[in-house]
């Protein structure tokens, strides 16, 4: 490849990625050369600034006709832009959490690393949402995963953090291997790594033996990605890792990592498998394999919600709650309704604000056990109200964005043919079960008297983050059309990634 070809690509499509990459590089150099006395939190602010810049850049890209660069490996379509927005906003909040994160033993030495590793992980997720090729998909996935291994273990003198990093590496490694193995079948049958080309070639498949290979590939990739999105029964790492990891990293895992997993699932499964005809030739392979997705969704919802009931530590409870939410999102994927992508986008956005709010609350209050919430409403009534609203949102009570998101998923499951009655029923039944553990937090915060006082450790920043997130949760719950209008006006043809 000579310089002329290199320059002929419209590189501005990758603008946001370049901003993030450049800042990450700059930060790592600054961290190396700046004197110790320089407080590393300024590096954090720099990374937040880079995210704002990337968001602004991304917004200018809205409205372009979708195009691809680098031989169709990097695609800029409305799907990519819409989901990158979610990723960037989430990353912005996570970084703000990271700036005000202050563990007992202090992070001084590694604080700089903290920020640029976040940026690199984010870069991986962004590449995933834009990639049109198995190679870029996988590179993005690995970039994100490898950085998050280090992030989980960044408290080097903290035993649980080390343990969870170890668990995460092993589980994640296995998952990646399985995903890659599944992808290798796809490549083997299609002879190309480009997703669109692959879809075309596979459509002309006549040998039914190959279909079984493809189904196998589908299942392998699904299993591998189930680790990423924390779907049962591949969620075993979640509670331990969530508990051990520093709070900003936990927030990262439960939002960005999960969102990236869903982005990959949608991009790959819909592009490739939707167009492959079934054995019986009257529907697509994706439809024929729908029942696997349905079982995964059902098991995830039931398992996550029921095990969450028994948890006494807030972070573990949130881990299982995040498993349950992965189940709800999988219902949307399974149902495959006409508005599936909108549904998932909205749900992820709603989930982002609720999750950031709750982790920010945890960081501010510096508590681990549910019991420690006792007497919160007396001590800090505003925090208690914020906690209550967040919990109501996660439980899907009307008036919050969680309700609208669930309503949308529910409608999707019921409005398609064949109708997923059973899945919808499980969704609603497990939602009621989830009331028990979400309201348990509210009960402790409001109805129980404090037996001892707890030390607030957080800073003003956490208060600001919490207010923004709670406000968004309520706003999107009362005026959901704000989000949907934004989506419909800017990303009219949401499915342009299929062309």
């Amino acid at each position: 490849m000579d310089l002329d070809t290199l320059l002929s690509f419209s590189w501005h499509a990758m603008g946001p990625e370049f901003i993030i990459l450049g800042t990450a590089t700059l930060l790592s150099l600054l961290d190396l050369f700046l004197p110790r006395s320089f407080h590393r939190k300024w590096l954090g602010w720099l990374s937040v600034a880079s995210i704002v810049a990337a968001i602004v850049f991304l917004l200018t890209l809205i409205g372009d006709t979708p195009f691809a660069i680098l031989y169709d490996t990097f695609r800029l379509d409305s799907f990519a832009i819409a989901f990158k927005l979610v990723l960037l906003v989430a990353a912005g909040f996570v970084l703000l959490l990271a700036i005000s994160y202050e563990p007992k033993e202090k992070l001084t030495e590694f604080r700089g690393e903290f920020f640029y590793l976040f940026l690199v992980a984010l870069l991986g997720a962004m590449i995933m949402s834009s990639s049109g090729d198995l190679i870029t998909l996988f590179v993005g996935l690995e970039l994100m995963t490898l950085s998050s291994y280090i992030l989980v273990g960044i408290r080097k003198k903290h035993l649980p953090s080390n343990e969870s990093a170890m668990k995460y590496v092993i589980n994640g490694g296995i998952a990646t291997a399985i995903t890659l193995f599944g992808m290798s079948y796809l490549y083997g049958v299609a002879g190309t790594t480009n997703l669109l080309e692959m879809a075309e070639r596979l459509q002309e498949l006549t040998n039914t033996q190959h279909l079984f290979l493809l189904a196998l590939a589908f299942l392998m990739i699904l299993v591998g990605l189930s680790f990423k999105i924390a779907a049962a029964p591949f969620h075993m790492w979640t509670p331990d890792v969530y508990e051990g990891a520093p709070i900003p990293v936990t927030a990262f895992l439960s939002i960005i990592s999960k969102a990236a997993g869903f982005i990959l699932i949608i991009r790959m499964f819909i592009t490739v498998f939707y167009h492959i005809p079934d054995v019986s030739n009257n529907s697509s392979l994706l439809m024929a394999l729908q029942s696997f997705l349905a079982v995964l969704a059902a098991v995830t919802m039931i398992w996550g919600n029921i095990v969450a009931l028994r948890q006494t530590k807030i972070k573990r409870m949130l881990a299982y709650s995040s498993v349950a939410h992965a189940g709800y999102l999988l219902v949307a994927v399974t149902a495959f309704s006409a508005f599936m992508v909108e549904t998932i986008w909205f749900y992820l956005t709603a989930y982002l604000f609720m999750t950031i709010a709750v982790f920010s609350l945890l960081q501010l209050m510096n508590i681990e056990e549910v019991k420690q919430l006792s007497g919160l409403s007396k001590r800090a009534p505003l925090l208690a109200v914020a906690l209550a609203l967040t919990m109501l949102g996660l439980a899907g009570i009307p008036g919050t964005s969680g309700f609208i998101g669930k309503l949308n998923i529910f409608l999707g499951a019921l409005s398609t043919e064949p109708t997923h009655y059973l899945l919808a029923a499980i969704l609603i039944a497990t939602t009621v079960i989830s009331y028990i553990y979400y309201f348990k937090l509210i009960i402790y915060a409001f109805f129980r008297e404090a037996n001892r006082t707890f030390q607030m450790s957080g800073k003003k920043m956490n208060g600001v983050i919490i207010s923004i997130c709670v406000l968004m949760t309520v706003l999107l719950g009362v005026f959901p059309q704000l989000a949907y209008d934004f989506l419909h006006q800017n990303f009219l043809s949401f499915y342009d990634f299929l062309q």
Binding site: F339, F403, L414, V432, F447, Q481
Partner: protein
């Protein structure tokens, strides 16, 4: 400003109070109480205005308002669009319930003066509860109905969990889980209807479903949906065997909240059964009336028998509520004009009577710190006025002619005798039992011998007037039932009664 926004103002006026209360310091007890009561008034006056103007011949349709709210699916890419509008509207029945809600809210806000601490939070939640209750009756859209329904649930959860009596937490939890299940089932029905017909508007659904000859839903599915609705609203009403949460709420919640709970919230169950069960699936409803009649009789007798053996006034009234809701069921089971009218009358009448009872209970509890019959004995001597009101409330509750309870029971039984005479004869036992347990409780309390007389204040002039208002309504409906029936007539004909 035309008519369309008047319902919005009625429903959301209390929210203004919530906003005002956020600005008030939480130690300023008097100011908080004043603001709270003032902010229940606009809804009350406006709904009275609505009733009067509808009597003057203004069409109820002209109050309906509609705004587009949210849409699922992209209209420009896919032809089909699921849109949920914000639409409010009333018919005769819901208008009366709207007025009942507004009235009881104002009175309950007065009764809440006995709350000892945390007024600010209490009244904010109280007003939120009022928004929810008003919204339920004004919603013209199933999703909107559901949202308001859940708002009432969350608000009562907090009100009971924080300000309830001894077992407040367990009560709040059991309320949450039972009603959570009920709303989950309700949501399933709502969403199936919405997903398959493409609209959640109640009137539109009624016309689609009545014109449907099995193409949208087979009759089996319809029966299934109706049974699901029965369970969902049966938990709320409550229908035996889903009643245990409601007994707990009656005995553990603060009295003012029980006024609203027994007076309005339970009625949402009846409203839903009549409005949606009967309104959407009239044919299937007809095929289930026998079961409904049997359940109604079970409710009636079960509640009455258990009320007979209770020593705690709150529990007696709780089981009495179950028993009285049985009358709503048998009225509906009759499915003729008299029966349905009886059911609707019973909804309103029991709302008023239960509210009066629990208003008095709040007063007793403040003075005696107990509501068990043994502690209240000999009330006629210590609190003659209060015991007089208790006696009258008891008489209204057992259906004394001239009171609203009589009209309701008479109509419901009249309807039932026309359709299922045998069941009606068994159900008549319930009337006798009601008289027995009410008289046992009321007479025992009023004229019983008290061992150690406790000196307490009688009702003050300030406390008397809410009871008088309630009593006037009860007697008013009893003496001149046409006040209600003229407003209800149109809807009963519409429901095929």
């Amino acid at each position: 400003m035309g008519f369309p926004f008047i319902l919005t103002i009625i429903v959301f006026a209390p929210l203004l109070g919530v906003l005002l209360l956020t600005l008030v310091a939480k130690t300023k007890e008097k100011l908080i109480k004043t603001v709270a009561i003032l902010s229940t008034l606009p809804s009350l006056f406006l709904s009275i205005y609505l009733i009067i103007s509808s009597k003057m011949g203004v069409e109820l349709v002209s109050y309906s308002g509609k705004l587009s709210w949210m849409q699922f699916g992209n209209p420009e890419v896919f032809g089909k669009l699921y849109s949920i509008d914000y639409e409010l509207g009333v018919d005769g029945f819901s208008l009366i319930l709207l007025l009942l809600t507004a009235l009881l809210s104002t009175l309950a806000a007065f009764a809440s003066f006995q709350i000892k601490a945390g007024w600010k939070g209490y009244y904010m939640l109280f007003l939120l509860l009022e928004v929810g209750m008003l919204g339920v009756f004004a919603a013209e859209n199933l999703i909107l109905f559901f949202i308001f329904f859940e708002v009432t649930l969350v608000a009562t959860f907090f009100l009971i969990g924080k300000w309830g009596l001894y077992e407040k937490e367990r009560t709040a939890f059991s309320l949450l889980i039972y009603n959570g299940m009920g709303s989950a089932i309700l949501l399933v029905v709502i969403m199936v209807l919405f997903a398959k017909t493409g609209t959640a508007n109640i009137d539109a659904l009624m016309s689609i479903l009545s014109a449907d000859d099995g193409t949208v839903f087979s009759s089996k599915v319809k029966t299934g949906l109706l049974i699901a609705l029965f369970i969902a609203f049966g938990i709320k009403l409550p229908i035996w065997p889903f009643h245990s949460w409601m007994v707990k709420v009656h005995s553990e919640a603060p009295a003012a909240i029980v006024m609203l709970h027994a007076g309005v919230l339970l009625k949402i169950g009846a409203y839903g059964l009549i409005h949606f069960g009967l309104g959407f699936f009239p044919k299937q409803f007809e095929s289930l009336t026998l079961w409904l009649a049997i359940l109604g009789v079970i409710n009636l007798l079960y509640g009455a028998f258990l009320a007979l053996s209770q020593q705690e006034l709150r529990k007696i009234l709780a089981y009495s509520s179950i028993s009285h809701m049985g009358i709503v069921l048998i009225g509906l089971a009759a499915l003729n004009e008299a029966g349905i009218q009886g059911a609707m009358f019973q909804v309103v009448s029991h709302g008023l009577i239960a509210a009066l009872f629990f208003y008095l209970i709040g007063i007793f509890y403040e003075r005696y710190q107990s509501t068990s019959m043994a502690d209240l004995n000999g009330l006629a001597k210590t609190m003659p006025i209060a015991s007089g009101f208790l006696l009258v409330a008891g008489l209204a509750s057992l259906g004394l002619p001239g009171m609203s309870g009589f009209v309701a029971e008479f109509l419901a039984f009249l309807g039932l005798f026309q359709e299922w005479p045998v069941i009606a004869v068994i159900a008549c036992l319930g009337i006798i039992l009601t008289a027995v347990y009410i008289l046992r409780a009321v007479l025992g309390i009023t004229f019983g011998q008290q061992e150690k007389a406790k000196m307490v204040r009688d009702m003050t002039a300030f406390e008397i007037w809410p009871a008088i208002i309630l009593l006037l309504c009860i007697v008013g409906i009893g003496v001149y039932p046409d006040i209600l029936s003229s407003t209800l007539k149109s809807i009963i004909i519409g429901l095929g009664g």
